[in-house]
Amino acid sequence: MIMRVTQSLNQSQFLTALNQIESRLSQTQNQITTNLNFTTAAQNPVAAGLVNNYNQTLTQSTQYDTNGNSAHTNLAIEDSALSQVQTQLQSLRDLALQANNGSLSPDARSAIAAQVVQIQSGILAAANTQNGSGEYIFAGNATLSSPFVATASGAAYTGDQGQREVQIAAGQSVATGDNGDSVFNRIKTGNGTFAATAGISNGGTGIFGATSVTDPAGYDGGTYAINFTAPNSYEVRDSNNLLISSGTFSSGQSIGFRGIQLTLNGQPASGDSFSVAPSANQSVFATVQNLVSALQNALGTPAAQALLNNSIGYAINNIDQALNQISNVRSAVGGRLNSITAEQSLSGSQQIQLQQSISNLQSLDYAKAITTLTEQNTTLSASMQAYALTKGLTLFKYL
């Protein structure tokens, strides 16, 4: 059957078609002007959801970079403060070695003492370093007040044991600093395992040489006394005064027991006592303060000189421990700086990848869009022409 076509239907169908073509044309035009494949989710729901997810990951990744930069700043400040401390400790060690010389005049010694006091305040200043926001970087989390306050015995720590971290990648955090307690306070005395000290009232000139742990399993962490019953014989007793070992002594001889060994030079007197105790924590400030006190003691007897030498020797041990500690912290800081840099370069390429994916989904394929636009344009003008041609066709014209 032939479909009857009426003029009014023709008219309305032409208008509907025109509307459709023009609406598609305007959508293509909109795509070209915004350079976007879609501006709402309805045009491509799946891609819109993906782009939303990618954008979330991208902003998060950018934030990780910001976090890394902030951590980097703080760690750089910490590293420079620690490098100052290192320099000061090195000078301190040199001064201690100078002071250990028995032929030093009292004036020279007190000059050294003055320099040591100077260094003490220098280290204190470094330990109270503030970052750009005015936070004390060695205060743990109590960053609003200065963590180290000078006292008669060195310095008191008022910070806490917290360590701030920031996230620099999904599942990866990095510490932005170290608390002052772990950096400056928790430094082991002596050789790190035990500390040997001479009795204050010793009358002889026995001075400690090298100490060592010969058998780590042998030392039980106990406190022992080496008592000289005669200038050439000693006995070792534990904290319960039980005899552990005894022997004869001559200068430069090593005394060994319970897996540890220490060398004693000079000539102890009968009744002199030396003690061995497990290494305890001592702050770098206490170490310096002890050195200052030792340097300020009056000399005059060989015994006093021996006491000074022992104190300086002990101080040098402790300074070495502190240097070791600072150097360990600095390597940790360096490691953190490295991991930030590594993570940032990784996130940089991840961001490029994400931007690429977003662009693939969302950015317009211009060539395709222009082709579509041309096609739609052609369709529009063709249908207009067709309308113009057919609308004049009526039988009435020929009547």
Binding site: A41, Q56, S70, S133, A142, D160, Q161, G162, F396
Partner: protein, 629 residues
């Protein structure tokens, strides 16, 4: 014997009428609803004249409409479906545009909020970064409020249009009833001749009506048309109109439902699924309300997670953080038809179990049952509904007061009002809880190698959370807490007390001690801020499987898919409707070329009849001349 004059006169009159019919067709070529008319001619019967019989001319038996009921029904039903999709599309597209690619800015604001927590973590004591965070927190809650306000505005628009549609439907129904009356009368008077113009008018009205609400019709033998809506609810019966009415939803007086004057307030909204009105109801039920609920579900989960984290940390003043956000408790509305006095208080207790659905709590045969609105699925309830033992289901606790009567219903909308009431209640940047609540400390005098880890908060509601505690090792393998008890030490295992948890590892020495205490004073702590910035990737919805950002993305994709689906359906229906229109026009439309040909045909016939009359006259003259001659 009919003479040539009589025959020619009937022909002239008939062809004149035919020319009028054609002219009338031409005149109405563009009149909507006009069905082209045709003249029906019959040869007049012969009058007895001996053996031979000649007809007595031509008679106009009827002027009938070119009309097919099937085609009209098809067009009306396709117009109903298209009307429904057009009005639904209007709303799905508005939601799509409102959401854009960021759910009205929610997605962007969410990123900003969590990034700001990272900035605070980088600089916990900086008031500037805290102030910036507070600003981001406010934009986030504002983005939820704005988006929800715009969705609610769409609902208000739906309400207004339901009212307007119902008024228009009633006006049309009344007109149809009046036309029924006139058509019945006209048919009676004209001895069965169809009153074409009245029928055209009525068809036009039914067509208009079908665009507003899907209708079914039946024609009575007297010519009256009966019109039904929904599941056969009569709108017009003969000359009587049963008007549609709007009634407030029995649970939500701000929401209009459709009823009928004959139904005593019973709602027929559910059965109206065609025409503009059907589209409005579908938009509300399937596009707008679900979007509001889903947005509310996200807001509830976000508010819950953020507040819980705030409560677990310390602010700059060393106190446990207060809530950052507030959100209204779920709405529980007793039906206005309830005869009992029961009222429900509903609270969200588990945002992971919460859904975006609404639920109906009904009391029947002495027992309460909870069903999901939409599919009517039964949801198991635990508890008894008392304050001490509330009903618990889908992350909600429900406490009932008062007594229910049989058949009473309470509608629970867990998330519908959440996004609209999502507010930032914290105003002082120092109140943001960036610091962890407790800190662990190793005593400086310890000689063992044991270290204590970072203390984390398990239960921020424990009243003793911030009470200082010391852990002392009475031997390398045992410890006491605050000087009391003796507990076996296992390196690296959890020690939990007062809502916190900490691990000690390594080898402790006798006399070593550790402590856990409030973190007050450690303003530089950022542990809680870190937990905040981690929250963005944490699953908190749908049983802990979907993050807040993920839920926002799903909402976006969902709304986009719905809009796309409706767009596709609308395009398809428009094509179907165009076909139906074409079929209708093919039967009933006026083709001007056809009419031009008809004009010529009737003109020729008229001229021929006139000629016959002239010949008759000449014959008569001849006869007269012969007689006179």
């Amino acid at each position: 014997v009919p003479d040539i004059f009589e025959i020619s006169v009937t022909a002239l009159r008939a062809f004149q009428t035919a020319l009028s019919v054609t002219s009338n067709n031409i005149a109405n070529a563009n009149t909507p609803g006009y069905a082209r008319e045709r003249i029906d001619l019959t040869a007049a019967p012969p009058q007895a004249d001996g053996a031979a019989s000649v007809g007595s001319g031509v008679v106009v038996t009827a002027i009938s409409r070119a009309y097919s009921q099937a085609t009209v029904d098809q067009l009306n039903s396709s117009q109903g479906a298209l009307g429904q999709l057009n009005s639904l599309q209007n709303y799905t597209n508005q939601i799509d545009n409102l959401f854009g690619t960021t759910v009205g800015g929610v997605s962007t604001a969410l990123q900003g909020f969590y990034n700001a927590w990272s900035d605070v973590a980088n600089n916990p004591t900086s008031t500037a970064s805290r102030q910036a965070l507070l600003g981001k927190a406010q934009s986030l809650s504002a983005s939820f409020q704005n988006t929800s306000a715009q969705l609610n505005a769409l609902n208000a628009d739906v309400n207004a249009r339901i009212g307007a549609d119902v008024t228009q439907i009633n006006t049309i129904a009344t007109s149809i009833a009046k036309l029924n009356q006139q058509i019945v009368v006209a048919k009676g008077q004209d001895g069965g001749f169809p009153p074409n113009e009245l029928l055209d008018q009525r068809d036009t009205l039914v067509s208009n009506l079908s665009q507003l609400v899907g209708v079914t019709t039946s024609t009575d033998s007297n010519g009256a048309l009966n019109v039904f809506v929904g599941n056969g609810q009569p709108l017009v019966l003969q000359a009587v109109t049963t008007a549609l009415t709007t009634v407030p939803n029995s649970f939500n007086s701000a929401q209009l439902e459709v009823s009928s004057a004959a139904l005593n307030g019973n709602v027929i909204s559910g059965s109206l699924n065609s025409g503009d009105l059907g589209g409005l109801l579908a938009a509300r039920g399937h596009a707008i309300d679900p979007a509001i609920n889903q947005l509310g579900q996200i807001a509830t989960a976000l508010s819950g997670a953020v507040n819980a984290q705030q409560n677990a940390g310390l602010n700059l003043n060393g106190q446990l953080g207060g809530n950052l956000y507030s959100i209204a408790a779920p709405a529980a509305v007793a039906s206005s038809k309830n005869t009992g006095t029961a009222a429900a208080t509903v609270n969200v207790i588990d945002t992971g179990a919460l859904t975006s659905s609404d639920y109906l709590l009904s009391f029947k045969a002495g027992a309460y049952a909870l069903t999901r609105v939409g599919d009517g699925a039964n949801v198991p309830l635990t508890g008894s509904g008392s304050a001490a033992n509330p009903f618990v289901a889908v992350g909600l606790s429900i406490v009932l007061t008062g007594a229910s009567a049989n058949g009473d219903q309470i509608l629970i909308r867990p998330t519908a009002g959440a996004a609209a009431t999502f507010k930032t209640v914290l105003v002082d940047p120092s109140q943001l809880a960036a610091a962890g609540a407790v800190q662990s400390t190793t005593a400086g005098t310890n000689t063992g190698s044991a270290t204590i880890g970072v203390a984390s908060v398990l239960d921020a509601t424990n009243p003793n959370l911030l009470v200082p505690t010391s852990i002392q090792f009475t031997s390398p393998t045992t410890y006491s807490i605050n000087g009391a008890g003796s507990f076996a030490y296992a390196a690296g295992s959890n020690i939990s007390l007062n809502g916190w948890q900490v691990q000690i590892s390594g080898v402790p020495a006798t006399g070593d001690s550790f402590s856990v205490k409030t973190n007050a004073g450690s303003a530089g702590d950022n542990r809680n801020a870190l937990l905040f910035s981690n929250q963005r990737s944490l699953g908190v919805l749908a049983g802990g499987t979907v993050s807040i950002g993920g839920a926002v993305g799903a909402l976006l994709t969902g709304a986009g898919s719905l809009a796309q689906q409706v767009n596709t359906a609308q395009t398809a229906q428009a094509a179907i409707n165009s076909q139906a229109q074409q079929n209708f026009q093919s039967v009933s439309g006026v083709n001007l070329d056809e009419e031009a040909a008809s004009l010529l045909q009737w003109q020729n016939a008229y001229q021929a009849s006139a000629k016959a009359l002239q010949i008759g006259s000449t014959l008569f003259q001849t006869l007269l001349t012969a007689v006179h001659g």
